[in-house]
Symmetry: D3
Subunit: 332 residues, 6 copies
């Protein structure tokens, strides 16, 4: 992307492109701005003594094409609210167009009523984004593709898959068996199977007849093979660590784990430390805190800044974003 | 449900419950009315010489609680438009509440942008239903649960799974291996695996390295076992028939196929005739035309009329619909 | 229009104008593109085996000014749905502006509640067009002018009247008596009376006192005169053929019939063949199928492609469309 | 209607029916309340010293079924604004349902763009009514039936035609010739022709060839006959008085004029005084001021209070309003 | 502002800026156009004989950036309706952007429910402005700042304070005591106190214990001092004249009164004539009629045309409007 | 209220009234339920390991009249989000009506653009409440009355003023001087002045001429008097403590401070401890944490549970809520 980048970014600022970063994605926004060769948009973001969020845009945005980069990662409610307030400010300040750039879309798993009397919070969030002023959304690895349909405004949906796949191709582990740690997540793993040409195996939990307990089994063969497990996100790492233990007990050799989003909540770090993984790979859609990086020595964090930066450039210049996927797959 | 049904249905008509049936679901609507012990709502539905759809509600619906039963099965565009016009009539005729009862929700597979510049027609349909006057929706086995989130109005989502599972339990085939004919459809099969306590196997298509062709393999063991394949719908029957052939070549004995919705489009009948299946089971969410019934001797059509009828009763009486699932699972 | 056309069309493509054609208006869209000197926008439009409509826009439309030409002529429901899906695709693909170009607007006669508990489908369609992404509408000879008010987005409303009138002026029949075949349609005929300076007569059906049958009479004088009958559309041709018979019985000589839209539904062709008309004139807002053209030897189809093309040019360039009417009337 | 009225109205007040009257329809609202046997809803309506409209609802309307009777007759802007503010008060005061009862709907003639860059004020008014809190509308003799379609909320559309027709039947003039004073208004006259079984004639203005002036002619025969002219409204009375003169010059005897709405604006009274009309009949949808009544000795004002009152009763009790038309036609 | 004005206005017309004036602000609109060096947009605004408002835009506005200057001053309902119809015309005529410029926003004092069952007319008006097509609003000295929040579209809110303050600075009266004539209005006065560095006093009405009458007192010292009283508007002048009398009775010397908006309703002129004021200063947000100017010899009317003109220029050119305040405060 | 309460609450549960409490208002909701004699609605409210809020309504709410009591006090973003998710659950679970009961409305001070490029977060919150399913709002002591106008749904606005005033009347301090600690807050204090018949004084900060510092002065007389200071909320207590110091330096005796909402953020406790106040009085719209109660020995917390409970009862029974104010003022 190098050469086109330099050519493309010439004069973005003059053209009215402004990229802002919320506090959840400060570093990522900074890197995106470096890719685009524009200064980060100036804004005061803070908290009043009573905890209310304060946003004040510090530069003129009238008639500008504004992008706000903000993951709704933990603390999700504050980060979401900050994004909404940010967009309300921009709308009232007469921005020409507002794109919510949401590398990690919190509440994405609450995307259906799994039981009666449950909310569909992912839709509630979509409505809030639209009604607070977003003209379009740029998201990455939504938990379900259908979340795009929660919006009536355009959604550009990127995937970190090429970034993750390229990493393993470079490390030369692409011939490992691909294990889906859960029947529900098989889709994401299957994409990698397609991409890397790997065999697939699935971990399956089954209710035993006449019993409320479940037996965990593996469908497919992992004996003597290296194993890769892909998921859209690592949250408490329970499923993936249980699966890692299972494949190891079935004779697997090295176990690699990769995900687009590294949430690392609750007992995640402890579990991952105990899971004897060769490598844990995530991207910077969520900014990994220094403590986690220090504890997880086998953690690799890849950056999606260039990918998002290029998408912003294309959106701003009215170029195809889907073409970006093909570029990405061809190794650019 | 018998006893409660008699008690509950006493006077539904007097209470202001009216159930209408569109032309795609005439028989089903009639059966639902029998369950509820109410006469089918009167309406003239037809087509003008130039093909425009004509709907005229023939009874007073002011202040009534109206349900319109209409699958958006083929011809999908006309059936959908008929449903929308029906609801516009009811709204303008001052119905108190309008529930769109959609046993089969057409366009459900167009629920995400699989590529650039594609529509999300399932969302477009959701918007159309809402804006034409639906206050709520009652649907069955939506292709993806997330479609519920395409609406901001209440959606009651029923599943034909207990009806199908009970059928196989009665026939005594529940100990067969459950095969998911495609990685993408594994969720629906997994539900049955949970419900029936069966083992699971998955058919997997994999791109061979350095080649554009794909190899089809089966993950898990089917040798000498009976096989059940469940899917939410049978459309062209391509995937399921290919999977049937594969499991048979891996030594499977009898093969059963079941789905909530029997669309039977294009080459479906021909394929199913050639697939040597022991039984094909669907429900009457889509009315199977006599020709198909005549050709497919091994086709069993179960009715969901009582299930939908009970749900309508509960919605009308402000009772829990999710409780209906528990009743259903406990064999009523 | 010739000279301005060449000047204006230079570089339309580069400027971001894209014209797409739906399957109901393929030829018309092609002619419009010829007028504008732009290539027809590429899109895949088709039908899945189960009859669901498929639209995939095949060229980048980000930031483009898009026009979709699609009459909602029979089969109206499929053609309408195709138009809506087309616009949903364009909206989600980030088109800058979407204009629905609807040469024939189906369901236009369902524009009011003629009885209780009837829909107002023409409004339902207007709502659907708006909510699926249309930013503006370009229509021709709407059955009632008030349909413009069903929209809150801008509607440019063209009339084929100058095209039809010019035809008769060229043929030298403009001094004929203008007969309105029905009291309800008198408005359209009156416009021509104004335009051509002709005398007017009206066919009137009257309930006889104390009787449920009606007598058909003619108010005004047609004896020994040529007669022209204008209507916005010819559907089943019942009214117009009955009127033709009546005027002939009152001594009229040649009878000419003209309409903007030639729907030709149900018994239309048969009736028209039996009506001894000198000429039937319609435009290509609806594409006349070859069978109809073959059967109706006295059918003349005029093209409105240049008219629509010029309107698109003016909309794209922010020029007055109402000025177009004056140009048209002055013979350009 | 007498007997049913007494039965039906028992306890309307207790049931939560409240009828308010705006200042444009104080007398009519009072008569409607008499028909319904309920007290007129209490409210303070006034004007601040700077001309701003003041509305304060003076009784509790929480959970009540509220009707606001207000014609948007001259001064139209103030009467309209008063109606909107009234409904805003009721909405914020938690009324259960609000029906705007608009006997005369001002701005109804601005229902289409007759030229470029014109508003469609009748639609603007419809949007304002809906967004200020109206749940439904009850209107009379809208200038065009299509105005119903400007709303997505239910509109009950009454006609004063039976009230006017019955008047002439009682006077024994129903065998007169029915003359439409203008081609554009022929629809309303035609309804009466149907209702009274009369012959029809039409006044037609025609542009002379090669000239900008117009000739006024009459199509049909009025010689030696009594003439009735019906229109939806009498505004400046120009067209109707010109037509009266014309029919008289063609040998007509007595000339009767009738309309649902008597606006009597500008030179109307003067013109009507000079037109030698046998009788002018209007209804009280607009309250005729005493001066006009004093000047126009031949003016008859019929009341639509019972008709509207009965419609309100039926809406409140969820009974058919369209059935009311049949009752009306059968002479009740 | 002089120099920048000349530079900036070069070619505004060519750039697509059009400024229209409603009948309530004809002179102000003309002055604004002079500031911007553009011709006033052409439109026919009138009244039909029945009092309905007529607006016809007389120049092409497709793709233009349109501003409609119209105070909703008395007669408020007609002026408001005219503004709404104007915007509906512009929207339907395909204007690119519509800004409602409302120097005086009528109904602003009805901005909250002061008692039960009252409307919030200022919000109703905001909804009407938005739904009739306004893309943005430019207002001056709204009665409460919170009215900005009644809109979700951008509102630029100007203040006449610098214009008024500069006037008094020039006259050398800025060291007077600033008296707030009412506790409720203290905010506006306090702004001037900040701006002019004056001392503050407040007039306070207090209910006496056990009594329904109120005592009027002054908090703070005015003895031997000149007094300035500022308010956002002078309506009936009751409060301000009562306060003037009070301060005089407490020994004040000269009394000056200033307001952004001079409504002068009801007994205002009479009261002001009797109040022995040294000077009354208002701006031309409301056009003072010649009678008032003739009667109130001590009335000074300052113009806000340059202020509004500069704001329009900045909005059109996507420059900061808030920067305008700083320029204003620095004496430009 | 005792007797009416017992009578009124009989059978509320059977009638379909359900009151839920969010985690910010658990105790208050419990007390309200005690007043209403209904059990608190059952729901699971929690937090997932990654911090996402979880709400699951645990009882059937179909057709029920639901109230959710939740202050959006600190942590404001989580409490607000919880309320929104709660309402989304209720809406999707087919509740008949949802009332958001918000004793303390966070972000209320962000109710206008105080500078350029600022959000109006109080309006954003209002939009979010409406779009997540609230049919109505019950709030207390909104920072500005105009916030009611941010909604188009009914808002019942209660005031804690009678509760606070009665407290001081009982303690016999009502004859003290009422001091407004800031010019901007004078409105709230003035209400008390009206209510208690007290004299008023105002603390005023003034910019000194030619200087950027401000002088703080007191307008009115406090020497030798007891002082009461009322505000809608105590946040950081800076203004009120500074004012307390000032009045003491001007010779005031005892100083009492009262507010509807006790936020006590940042340095509030420390400041209040140093301010030598005789008593600090707040209500339980915000639940005071035990630490604050332990530290502030002179803190009195009054309950508004009966007031809110009575309002809920009246809303549920369609009785006047504004009548409640009169009852309250008359000492009930």
């Amino acid at each position: 992307m190098k050469s086109s980048r330099n050519r493309a970014s010439r004069g973005f600022e003059a053209e009215g492109l402004v990229v802002f970063g919320g506090t959840a994605s400060t570093h990522l926004a900074q890197k995106i701005c470096s890719y685009l060769n524009v200064p980060l948009g100036r804004a005061t973001i803070g908290t009043y003594p009573d905890g209310e969020t304060l946003v004040k845009v510090e530069e003129d945005v009238r008639g500008k094409d504004c992008f706000v980069v903000q993951s709704t990662s933990p603390p999700v409610n504050s980060n979401l609210m900050q994004l909404l307030i940010f967009m309300d400010s921009l709308r009232r300040a007469s921005a020409k167009r507002i794109t919510a750039v949401i590398p990690y879309y919190g509440y994405a798993r609450q995307d259906r009523k799994s039981e009666g009397r449950m909310p569909i919070t992912a839709k509630l969030v979509a409505n809030m984004l639209t009604s607070s002023g977003a003209d379009r959304v740029l998201a990455m690895n939504l938990h379900a593709d259908q979340i795009q349909g929660f919006f009536d405004i355009p959604v550009d949906h990127l995937t970190a898959a090429p970034v993750l796949a390229r990493h393993f191709q470079r490390e030369g582990v692409e011939n490992a068996v691909l294990v889906s740690p859960d029947v529900g997540n098989i889709k994401f793993g299957n994409d990698f199977s397609e991409r890397l040409g790997s065999e697939l195996a699935v971990v399956h939990k089954r209710r035993l007849t006449g019993d409320s307990t479940k037996a965990i089994t593996i469908i497919g063969n992992v004996e003597g093979r290296d194993v890769m497990m892909f998921d859209d996100m690592i949250t408490t790492a329970g499923t993936v660590c249980e699966a890692a233990k299972l494949v190891r007990s079935h004779g697997a050799r090295k176990v690699f784990v990769a995900a687009a989003h590294g949430v690392f909540a609750g007992p995640a770090v402890e579990r991952l430390l105990g899971a004897e993984l060769s490598e844990i790979v995530v991207t910077d859609t969520i900014e990994a805190c220094p403590e986690i990086r220090a504890q997880l020595k086998n953690l690799t964090v890849l950056s999606v800044a260039d990918l998002i930066g290029e998408a912003i450039k294309r959106i701003h210049e009215h170029q195809s974003v889907s073409a970006l996927f093909r570029l990405a797959e061809d190794g650019e």
